[in-house]
């Protein structure tokens, strides 16, 4: 027997048994979670986008129309970026491992870009919304900054930045792992 044949016999001596999951239930749960995420995206778009349009139609004020246009611009930019960023980064598990690794690396980089874009978009939206509200209320700045809504907006911004930072760190660690593996298989 050749070396490899002898080793193959030794290799296949052990057949570790491992409990297999209830695959149907797990696939069903994952599909349901994905559908919920998509539904949440669509719901947020409808509620915010639809809500601001409804307000603009009722209010008949230029400032509210400007707000509605800006809101839909932000929504459109977010959706467009998401589509473009995800294009060509779909990662079929059936690709050969080299191709799969390359796609995984691209997808990781796309996720990091998405985080940066998200932060820029959020800051732009917050700046616009705070400016718009400040102009509508016409109150002293110090008083404006003490409003509960404004404080909540700043708090939400801090939370969003913290979450973005955490997610970017995670993606960077994953990218480093993938690049290390890529080096090993070259």
């Amino acid at each position: 027997m050749t070396d490899w044949q002898e080793l193959a016999v030794e290799w296949r001596e052990e057949s570790p048994a491992a409990p297999l999951p209830d695959l149907r239930a797990r696939v069903a749960r994952e599909s349901r979670n994905m559908r919920l995420l998509v539904a949440a995206d669509v719901l947020v778009t409808i509620v915010i986008g639809g809500g601001v349009i409804g307000w603009a139609l009722r209010a008949h004020q230029t400032s509210v129309t400007v707000l509605a246009c800006a809101t839909w611009t932000f929504l459109a930019v977010a959706w467009a970026f998401g589509v473009v960023n995800r294009a060509n980064n779909w990662r079929p598990s059936t690709a050969d491992t080299n191709a799969f690794l390359d796609l995984s690396i691209r997808r990781c980089r796309a996720s990091i870009s998405m985080v940066h874009f998200g932060v820029v978009l959020w800051m732009a939206e917050m700046a616009f919304n705070l400016t718009w509200v400040y102009r509508e209320l016409s109150m002293p700045l110090a008083e404006f900054l003490r409003l509960w809504g404004v404080i909540a907006g700043f708090a939400a911004t801090l939370a969003f930045l913290a979450a973005s930072f955490w997610y970017r760190r995670k993606q960077r660690a994953e990218l480093a792992g993938l690049l290390a593996i890529k080096k090993q298989v070259e």
């Binding site: 001596e13 052990e14 491992a18 598990s93 050969d96 491992t97 995984s104 994953e174 090993q184």
Partner: protein, 156 residues
């Protein structure tokens, strides 16, 4: 299909992980990935090639997410399956353990071709799974054989 290829997939999972519980976790993820991917199989390759592609891809994702380091340090490879085998003697078990430890010490590129060779795939099939040329498969196997010999002949 899982019953038929389960042992091979379990050995593949063991070659990517360091503990029995990680191995079991990874095997479950592989099973799930195969379940999802199988409806899309159109016979472009053999079923075996298809299975191993999905399994290796899932294993790579798993080790990256769990930040499992690939190490050549034998002291770090504390893999002991607590479940005693009723089918193999202690000597065969020990031989398999030493072989598995040696395989785990190989760099990933060599480890992949070695595990696929040990499962009986030929050069063409291995090249299809990994997306490399058959020449590259031969070169990696040759280098891996030298390393394996070194590890297996070292004192335990």
């Amino acid at each position: 299909m899982l019953a038929e290829h389960g042992p091979a997939l379990a050995r593949l999972a063991a070659s990517y992980t360091r503990t029995a519980s990680d191995r079991d976790d990874l095997l479950q993820e592989i099973a799930l990935a195969l379940w999802k991917a199988l409806p899309g199989f159109r016979g472009e390759s053999s079923l075996r090639t298809f299975l191993y592609r999905v399994a290796h891809n899932r294993a790579i994702s798993y080790v990256v997410r769990r930040r499992i380091r690939f190490t050549s340090d034998i002291d770090e490879l504390q893999i002991r399956d607590p479940r005693p085998s009723v089918e193999t003697g202690l000597v065969q078990q020990e031989k398999h353990r030493r072989l598995m430890d040696a395989v785990r010490r190989l760099p990933l590129g060599h480890r992949q071709v070695v595990t696929l060779t040990l499962e009986g795939l030929d050069y063409a099939e291995i090249a299809q799974v990994l997306g490399i040329s058959e020449t590259n498969v031969g070169v990696r196997l040759s280098r891996a054989r030298q390393k394996l010999k070194e590890y297996l002949e070292a004192k335990p």
